[in-house]
């Protein structure tokens, strides 16, 4: 198997660009949207690292499932906490 340097460089450049984007957006007055957007960008960057640097894209289904498991449990935790916040009147 050949070392795919060009693909890794493309992924790295995409990561730099996304980093610049999230940094730039932080200076705009977006309120709550600002940090929600920055988290979406962080998830895209994490996805690139998972797929290409951690080679999930080229792995067997067992690895796909296992890598998704942790994030699935975490999203359950966060989802239920958020539901509590948006469905009740909290101070702040």
């Amino acid at each position: 198997m050949k070392v795919n340097l060009a693909r890794s460089v493309r992924v790295l450049i995409s990561l730099y660009l996304l980093m610049a984007l999230t940094s730039g957006l932080a200076f705009l007055p977006l309120g709550h949207w600002g940090w929600h957007l920055s988290l979406v960008i962080a998830f895209v960057m994490a996805g690139l690292i998972l797929l290409f640097f951690m080679k999930v894209k080229y792995s067997e289904p067992l690895i796909w499932l296992t890598s998704a498991a942790g994030f699935t449990w975490l999203s359950l935790l966060i989802l239920l906490v958020i539901l509590d916040y948006i469905s009740r009147a909290w101070p702040g």
Binding site: T22, F27, S38, L39, I49, W73, L77, G92
Partner: protein, 218 residues
Amino acid sequence: MSAETESNADLLNFPFKEASHQRESALFGMWIFLATEVLFFGGMFTAYMVYRYSHWQAFQEAGAHQEWYLGCLNTAVLLTSGFTMALAVEFARKGQRVWLLALFAITWLLGSAFLGIEGYEYHTKFTEHLVPGSGFHFTGSDPSSSELFFVLYFTMTGMHMFHMFVGLMLILFFGGWTWFSPRALLTPNPFEVLGLYWAFVDIVWLFLYPLFYLVHPQ
């Protein structure tokens, strides 16, 4: 038994009979560990989310004291180290010792630079009395809630730095092993597992950066 079978059998640990099975098990085990790590950091991220929603203004004021450009520099350093580590693993798979060692060295230097920058930041927090505790001094609308921001900052970046430190020690260990033992590269499995660990530590930082440095950049 031929020489080839002997050397292959030598690489297999009990109870494996096939190299592919051994490899899958190594990677599967690491991914399970990483899933527990996601939940370990995830609990802290959830705490951050709750406090940021409930103390919005205090977090904005505290976030204004963060040097966003240092966080940005550290993100770039860490992304680059993730790239060199991913390449190092590919060279380990191909059995190219010199390239592997060179990329390990670069990754190690980048990781150390990250810790150096982070250490400098911690130092400035001490001099500015922004470390939670009896010495904490903050002028704002709600200092005790702003203190929460710094509690989370030190806890989460501290745990991340600990993971980085462990990663640097592992690179030293695996690098030394490759340097001294010609048998190190007979199987790439340990290097692939180390690569997964390093990439995961990268990913954690990608979330820490916007949550602690881009709250209210000046």
